[in-house]
Symmetry: C2
Subunit: 84 residues, 2 copies
Amino acid sequence: MAKFQAEIDVMPKKEILDPQGKAVTGSMKNLGLAEIQNVRIGKHITLEIDADSAEAAHAKVDEACKNLLANLIMESYSFKLVQA
Amino acid sequence: MAKFQAEIDVMPKKEILDPQGKAVTGSMKNLGLAEIQNVRIGKHITLEIDADSAEAAHAKVDEACKNLLANLIMESYSFKLVQA
């Protein structure tokens, strides 16, 4: 049994409006950072997982993303695994 | 003037309780994913920035993180920049 660390990004899909990101893009102008455009805000999730192999850990993290962490209608996810 | 893309992670500091992550860790058990532990949830932010150099872009993104994107009392941030 090995311990793996997963770093997961869950982002709103490109074709979906991101009102939080839009608001932050607007605020950049007020902060004197008008060079910053197209802010999009999602979630960054870290977790630890015990598994026999990297493949098994990958499958478990994928299942967690699909069933709990991401709403696949509005969000897409990606992750990377490293052995701890 | 070049365009850069920044990928920013903003996470609750280690010494700070993360109630959202705690709740998700608990839910993993109910989903049959008890191997998953120590879930922590932060923000993943992508943005575009126009700058003369990678150094200038780095300084601007750092300023945006400090002044708007992260609450440095409770959160830490890291980012990477790629030329678009």
